[in-house]
Amino acid sequence: MIVANSLTKRYPGGFEALSGVSFRIGAGEMVLITGHSGAGKTTLVKLIASIERPTSGSLVVNGQNLSALRRSAIPYVRRHFGMIFQDQKLLFDRSALDNVMLPLQIVGLPHREAVRRAQAALDKVGLLAREKANPIALSGGEQQRLAIARAVVNRPTVLLADEPTANLDSASAQDIRTLFADFHRVGVTIVVATHDQSWIEHCQGNALRLDHGRVV
């Protein structure tokens, strides 16, 4: 469960990306965060993923108050989330399999088991046949699916995504939406920042609309 209360994020220089945002997302729910560019969607996703710290207010995820976390505890909290970045952040100096194995290496899973689980994740997103390929050789849709495989390989309780269908053709975007629906069906809490109108219209879950850093 994710509970935000009067969440505010002010960047150095004074720009306030979020102002007093409050919401509640239940375990296993799928929520789309919508709004125009600069509304604060990415900032909110980053706050939930503990990549950014709130300026004020509280943010509680699975009973843990992220606002009061010690710096040394942050990496361990981040491991509970599967994060899909807007620019995917794939590593182009290694294979698709090695990209997916990274979160497993971070938690110290033995190599053989890490390979097995990474292959299973690649299979889930339909990329097992491309496990040895360098991400640069993959299409935009395949790269996004690879990023999803990396996000889910550690079996996170919460899957966070920032514009996962941006810059994709409609068929690839539909594949991504289907994958998210599959994860939602098995009980993963999903928070997606998106301005994909098609997704917003057909979303079976909730939508959280932001405008200039406030919930509307």
């Binding site: 993923a49 990549i51 040394s72 990496p75 361990y76 909290v77 981040r78 491991r79 994060m83 970045f85 952040k89 590593l91 182009f92 100096d93 990274l102 979160p103 290496q105 971070i106 938690v107 110290g108 899973l109 033995p110 190599h111 990396r150």
Partner: protein, 299 residues
């Protein structure tokens, strides 16, 4: 524990891969580190050989105990039994007749000895203590001189003191060189790791965002620095061996000209291990400094 070991194994494998990924750069770094370690290591080996040379030079660390001319057999036996009670002391007894024979063998002295009406030499003991420091030698000499029927206990203490002072000066110079070149090694590793952190910036950023701890990120760099230092130590050992091999011939010839023989002692396994360990520790230190400073920009 299994996960911890797995992480260390992965970090070590990654650092080996990084070393092998740029063989020319690695070779140059190892050569720079090797040369930095060679100079103090070679200085240490030279000093060790000089110390050995000083030990083997006749009379340098020996005390000659001359008995009174009229000393009887029982007096000699008394001194012998007292010497046996001294810890870490070796001694040989040189009877006066034996001493005269040795003197007669000397070309310069044979004629003079032959003209002597009787043997003027006393019985003597040659004492070699294990502790050869000038202070200990002097204390022992005074004690031996105070024993009954001992006419004189002789030690060339001035020579020993001069030699000891020279060795201490050499040791200090080697230590200063070691400090200087050790700092050089840290600087070389610092720069190599800084460049690696810049090259791995994307990976570090992603790893941090998905839950990597600082130790996870630092670990491969630590291994890299330490590994580079250890390999640099091996290069330095090779260079020291090569230098000793080149010097062995000329040193032997020089010793022969002085009527003796001297073989240069090469560093043993323990010395090589210590050199590699020193390289590894300094490499780790360089990596630690570099990665700590470089990672700040990711905060």
């Amino acid at each position: 524990m299994r996960r911890w070991l797995s992480q260390h194994r992965a970090a070590l494998a990654l650092s080996v891969r990084r070393l092998l990924a740029a063989p020319f750069n690695t070779l140059l770094s190892l050569l720079a580190i090797g040369i930095a370690l060679t100079l103090p290591a070679f200085g240490y080996v030279v000093l060790d050989n000089l110390r050995e040379l000083g030990r083997s030079a006749s009379g340098v660390q020996e005390i000659s105990v001359f008995m009174e001319v009229g000393a009887a057999r029982k007096d000699i036996a008394e001194i012998e039994s007292r010497l046996q009670t001294l810890p870490g002391v070796r001694f040989t007894f040189v009877p006066r007749d034996e001493a005269l024979k040795r003197l007669q063998k000397s070309e310069e002295m044979a004629e003079i000895v032959a003209s002597l009406p009787r043997n003027p030499l006393p019985d003597a003991f040659i004492v070699e203590p294990a502790d050869a420091s000038p202070e200990a030698l002097d204390v022992l000499r005074q004690e031996l001189a105070s024993w009954p029927k001992v006419a004189h206990a002789q030690l060339d203490s001035a020579w020993v003191k001069r030699f000891d002072a020279f060795l201490r000066l050499g040791k200090l110079t080697v230590l200063m060189l070691a400090g200087l070149f050790g700092a050089g090694l840290v600087a070389v590793t610092f720069n190599t790791i800084r460049l690696q952190v810049l090259a791995q910036a994307a990976e570090i950023e992603v790893a941090r965002m998905i839950g990597a701890t600082d130790s996870f990120i630092r670990r491969p760099f630590h291994y890299f620095g330490a590994l580079q230092g250890v390999l640099g130590g091996l290069v330095a050992s090779g260079l020291v061996f090569a230098a000793l091999h080149l010097l062995a011939g000329p040193v032997g010839e020089l010793a022969a000209l002085y009527g003796g023989s001297f073989v240069l002692h090469a560093p043993g396994v323990r010395e090589i291990a210590a050199l590699c360990a020193a390289g590894g520790i300094l490499g780790w230190l360089g990596a630690q400094l570099s990665v700590s400073l470089s990672l700040r920009r990711f905060d």
